[in-house]
Structures are given as structure tokens and as C-alpha cells.
């Protein structure tokens, strides 16, 4: 029954590859949240098993390369994680990745490991200038999931 509800909601938002995500859920268990970009993809930026064990090492290495050397072209950025794993709620607003039951929170709560990433980093994709211009011209890796809710959250309201 629960799966039927999940399946129904996936189809209703018209996401390609939803069936594939469901198959993964049924086969091995997945914490990828329906309604996120990640749910439409076969795997993360690396193999799923690798990411489960090593995602923290990957983003830790990337952060040094980005902060000190300015490298922002690789697929291992934390903002990339957020872009892809943030889901869109029923009200059309992007749901923070560290909100209860969301991608980051789900596993980290289960394993009782705190996260400090989001003390500083945005938990939803938030690019105010891109939101007001043509999203098709957004730079690589910064595809917008949703615009209005983020803008109104900032009190801009356009």
C-alpha cells in the first residue's frame, strides 16, 4: 500500500526514471527521496556502495580543492549533493536535505552521527540571481529545482 502511494506520487510529479528508483528501493533499500533529482538517476556520482561508505571523504577532499585551489568543476561538491538530493514538497517548496526524513537526515539519524556541513552550507539550492534570470543559462551543476518558494523565503517576493 505504501509503495503504491509512493508510486502514485512519483508519477503525479512526472519524474522520469521513477520506476527505476522504486526498483532499487524494493531490491536493496534506498534513502533517496522521491521527488529529488537523485531519484531519477541510476546511481550517484560514484557507485552507490562507494558513496555510502566514502561520501564524507569525497566531499572533504573536494572542500580543500575548492577553498584553496578554486576548483569547482568536479562532480564531488557538496552543493552538488544538495542540488540533486533536495526534494520538492507537496507545496512546491524545496525541502532541506537535513530536514527530518530527508536524504541526509534519514541515514545520519539512524547511525547517530551528527552533521556540521549545514551549520554553514545551504540546505536547499539557493541562487537568488539565477532565480530571476533564465534557469536554462545556469552554470553547470546548478540546475534549479524550484524558484518561487526560495525567493519568498528570503522575503523578496519579486
Amino acid at each position: 500500500m505504501a509503495r503504491a502511494v509512493v508510486l502514485g506520487s512519483l508519477i503525479s510529479v512526472g519524474l522520469a526514471g521513477a520506476l527505476c528508483a522504486l526498483a532499487v528501493q524494493a531490491a536493496g533499500g534506498s534513502f533517496v527521496v522521491p521527488g529529488s533529482q537523485a531519484a531519477t538517476l541510476d546511481s550517484c556520482v560514484e557507485e552507490t556502495d562507494f558513496m555510502r561508505r566514502n561520501h564524507m571523504e569525497v566531499i572533504k577532499h573536494q572542500r580543500d580543492a575548492t577553498v584553496h585551489s578554486g576548483i569547482r568543476s568536479t562532480k564531488h561538491s557538496l552543493s552538488g549533493c544538495v542540488e540533486c538530493h533536495a526534494s520538492v514538497g507537496p507545496d512546491g517548496a524545496v525541502v532541506p536535505v537535513d530536514a527530518k526524513g530527508q536524504f541526509c537526515h534519514a541515514c545520519h539519524a539512524f547511525t547517530a552521527i551528527g552533521m556540521n556541513c549545514f551549520d554553514c552550507h545551504a540546505t536547499v539550492p539557493r541562487h537568488p540571481d539565477l532565480e530571476r534570470s533564465d534557469p536554462a543559462q545556469a552554470p553547470l551543476g546548478s540546475t534549479l529545482l524550484e524558484t518561487g518558494a526560495v525567493a519568498s523565503e528570503r522575503g523578496e517576493g519579486n
Binding site: 585551489s69 578554486g70 569547482r72 554553514c120 552554470p139
Partner: protein
């Protein structure tokens, strides 16, 4: 700022604040846009082949104009800061993070008033880097002085060491950040010459764009090491100075007409 030449004793340098009256900053609300150039994100490490810098013509900097400050606030998410409950407006004005301050200087002898934006001066030999106990305060190969907040412990030595009062400390938990500008409680931050724009290969900074939109064109951004860049050409043709040049920090931000 017009002290006689002294020999610099690097061992016992006195870190002084800017020696003129610095006025508070009035931050005006407003929405500014900048166009995103379709440039590729950087894939190679930055090198010392370039050194980014600013040249600010104070004669063109209008009294009362805060366009650069507003643009900086929006570009770097500083306008998303929220005053903690129970904190007075006065304290908040002192406490909130500010990357550019609009300063008004008056020559006590002649009464001549100069307006200028004051931000991190991106020193070649930055005192903030010297004093940082963890290595969080660092100078990037391309001359940008910044804080690695992953390593910053919030001791604020750098804030005391900076002769320009350019750095801010985030005192409270931050709930809303921009993707390009992470910000959190317990870390120091300051102007990073719009480092996200540098890494995307864009041509200017938010303050430069805003100043140009106002028609003042008081700020020029560019590569100090490229003799053909606009900033280098201008530095050759007009007289410019560093603020507190007596400290011999070789700042990346230069001022004309002061």
C-alpha cells in the same frame, strides 16, 4: 596616513586601526542583479600568475552612495543575516558581518572630505595570516586573502591583527545561506573578491558592477600582474596609494585621490 618614511621592523609591528574617523555604514535595501556569464567553472588550481586587485578612485566615490555595500551584501548573502532576539539595534549594527564599509575621511588641516569603500585589502603579506593559529586564514595563490571556515576556530586573532578592521565574526547561528556563500556561527569572514565569481571565470566583482551601474565607475577590478589589464594600465597612468602603506603590506586594493 602622511607619516614620514620609517624603516619597517616586521618583528614589532603595531597593528593600528585606520587612522581616520570612520563613519558607520548605512545599508540601503534594494535588489540588484548581475548577469551570469556562461563561463566554465575552474578545473585547474589557481596560480600566482595572476594577482587580483582593486583600484578605487575616491574622487568618483559619491558621498552617501552605498551601492557597492548593498551589492556586496546581496552577492554574499550578508543581507540574510537576522538580528538575534533581544539584541539592541545599536549592538547589532556593531555585530553584524560587513564586508565593505563606506568610510568618510576628513583632513583636519584643510577640511577636505574623502569618501571611500573600505574592505579587505588583500595584502601580499597579510597580518591576519601571520597570526592565525590554525592556518584557516590564508592567501590564495592568486592573491585573495580568505578564511577556510572548515579550519577556523573563531579565535578572532585575525580581526585584531587586521589594520583595516576588515573582518567580521559570525556570533549567532545562521539559518539561511546562499549556495555560493556558506556562513555559520563561530567563524571569521571578510571580502574574498567574490571568489565564486573568480572560479566561474567571471570578469568583475559585485561592488564593481554596482558602482558602474550607478555611473560612478569608481572601482576597477583586475589582474595586477598583467601589464595590459585595465587596472594595471590605470595604475601606471594615475597616482594611487595604499592605505597604511607605512606598514609595507603591499595591499592588493589601491586608492587614487587620497
Amino acid at each position: 596616513m602622511s607619516k614620514p618614511k620609517e624603516t619597517i621592523n616586521r618583528g614589532r609591528r603595531a597593528f593600528m586601526g585606520v587612522a581616520a574617523g570612520v563613519t558607520g555604514v548605512a545599508v540601503a535595501p534594494g535588489v540588484l542583479l548581475h548577469t551570469v556569464v556562461g563561463a566554465a567553472p575552474r578545473s585547474e588550481p589557481v596560480t600566482s600568475a595572476v594577482r587580483w586587485g582593486l583600484l578605487i578612485d575616491t574622487a568618483r566615490c559619491a558621498d552617501g552612495c552605498t551601492a557597492c555595500v548593498t551589492a556586496c551584501n546581496e552577492e554574499n548573502g550578508l543581507d540574510l543575516q537576522v538580528k538575534p532576539a533581544g539584541l539592541s539595534d545599536e549592538k547589532w549594527a556593531q555585530q553584524r558581518a560587513v564586508w565593505i564599509r563606506k568610510a568618510k575621511l576628513q583632513d583636519n588641516q584643510t577640511g577636505r572630505v574623502t569618501n571611500l569603500p573600505l574592505m579587505c585589502q588583500h595584502c601580499e603579506r597579510p597580518p591576519c595570516v601571520d597570526v592565525c593559529p590554525t592556518g584557516a586564514s590564508f592567501k590564495r595563490a592568486d592573491g585573495i586573502v580568505m578564511v577556510d571556515r572548515h579550519t577556523c576556530i573563531g579565535c578572532r586573532y585575525c580581526m585584531m591583527a587586521c589594520p583595516y578592521k576588515a573582518r567580521s565574526f559570525i556570533h549567532e547561528k545562521v539559518d539561511t545561506q546562499l549556495t555560493r556563500a556558506p556562513r555559520g556561527k563561530g567563524c571569521v569572514e571578510s571580502c574574498n573578491l567574490c571568489v565564486h565569481r573568480r572560479d566561474q571565470g567571471e570578469a568583475s566583482t559585485a561592488c564593481v558592477d554596482a558602482c558602474a551601474r550607478e555611473g560612478s565607475n569608481a572601482i576597477v577590478f583586475g589582474d595586477l600582474k598583467d601589464p595590459n589589464s585595465q587596472i594595471s594600465q590605470k595604475l601606471v597612468s594615475i597616482a594611487s596609494r595604499q592605505i597604511r602603506e607605512d606598514l609595507a603590506l603591499n595591499t592588493g586594493v589601491r586608492y587614487a585621490n587620497i
